[in-house]
């Protein structure tokens, strides 16, 4: 069931096998109501998630990407999520310079027993993505869009007139 009465959006979830995937399962078993936009990809550990997975998903047309792992100090592999936290934080901070709305990406921690927290996270994130609406394709979709883009950008002159290395 979609969160809102709208078209389903494409949200990709990277969930660690040991905590968050279990948390999602717990939520499911408990029959908590959840939006269905999220497509879950199970990974061994949040430390397995290359931030480029997220980038690739966004450039391939995902409307949102959610990463969830074990709470810090609770990583099944002791320290995978500590590394993940640094990488994902940097990704989140990086997105604004690309013009991709950083709200389309989020990372969080959900343990296997936190079915309710999972329900909350996925509902909130899905709501947020629906508020943002479908993501714009990085490749202009039609010839006309190409033309408009090229003309608009040309009319602005150089975005960074002074740059020079």
């Amino acid at each position: 069931m979609p969160a809102q009465d709208e078209r389903e959006l494409r949200i990709v979830g990277f969930l660690c096998n040991w905590c968050s995937y279990g948390g999602a399962d717990t939520a499911g078993v408990a029959r908590f109501t959840q939006p269905t936009d999220l497509r879950i990809i199970r990974v061994p550990c949040s430390g397995r998630i290359d931030p480029l997975f997220v980038v690739r998903a966004l450039l391939n047309g995902a409307d949102g990407v959610l990463v969830s792992g074990c709470h810090p100090r609770d990583c099944h592999y002791a320290e995978g999520n500590f590394y993940a936290r640094r990488r994902l934080e940097m990704l989140k901070r990086f997105l604004p310079i690309t013009g991709i709305d950083e709200r389309r990406f989020e990372y969080t921690w959900v343990s296997a027993s936190e079915g309710q927290r999972w329900q909350h996270v996925v509902t909130e994130f899905t709501r947020r993505i629906h508020e943002l609406g479908p993501a714009q394709s990085f490749n202009p979709a039609t010839q006309e869009e190409w033309f408009n883009l090229a003309l608009n950008e040309a009319s602005k002159g150089e975005a960074c007139a002074c740059h020079g290395s």
Partner: protein, 345 residues
Amino acid sequence: MERFITEANLQQFAATLAGKKHVLAPVASGGTTCFRRLVPGMRLDFSRMAVISPKDATFPRNETLLLVQRYVEESGKKLELKEQLPEGECIVIGSRPCGARGKLIFDPVYETEAIKDPYYLRRRDNTLFITLSCDRPESTCFCHSVGSNPADGTGSDVLLTAVEGGFFARAITPKGEELLADALFEEAGTRAEEAAAKQTKARELMGQAHDFSSAAAKLLERFDDMGFWQAQSNKCISCGACTYMCPTCYCFNITDDEAGLVSRRLRSWDNCMSHTFTLEGSGHNPRGTKAHRLKNRVGHKFSYYPDLHASQIACCGCGRCIKQCPAGVDIRQVVMAAQEYVDER
């Protein structure tokens, strides 16, 4: 046929054409000048030679060769292949003589008795070149060393020469004459002489040409001298700026992309300076270092290709590879070094 067109009218001519056809022209973009698809409203930028060559017109950076649709039916799996031959005409406005002539290097390779590359042939036959002759050479220009000159009309349909107030236009092919029939072109009057004088001056400014006549043999002689090639390639960073800028580099890659039940076979520019270009499945690489690769790049242009194709050097002398090289590798110098090499052993 000889005509004249004012600068403003040329802009208008280009804009009108761009409204009807695929026009590729040098456009100022982000502080640089590149060939781009001209959109009505954009202005031609003739102030400098475009960084990227007009090769895209006849050999786009990537094109789909085939589309493949898979079906899973009860009777089994089925595949449907769709050939994706290019359609439509293209007009290049503002190429320089080197770029227009450079594309001819493709012909003996892409059209032989046995093999005809339909993608290239269609594009070539459906592309017109309105070329701008150069009024002064840049320090990287050496078209005169590879059998051309700054006002060479080879490979062009119309040759423009900048004169007072606009451009003197000479049709080189019947299709070029059709273009010049447009009402925006005026009587040429006495401008033919002005243009001729300009062209002569440009040629004089180029100075002494390099003599590459012994390159084919000398490069082969140096083939096994890896010390020579290591020295020549010291500063090379093995990127693809030279090959992708080059109007004559014709090597390509073929790769498949897959999404669900649809896949496509893509042809894209490839780069002989990259490690993967010749990397074999077994892990063996006959050109494992940048020295091997530079040897092949220079050898191909100045030795192997001329050997196979009537002594024609596979280089149009546009100098883009020199000007755009992040490390300043100068192909002229490499060839001269091979020619002048004295074996002291």
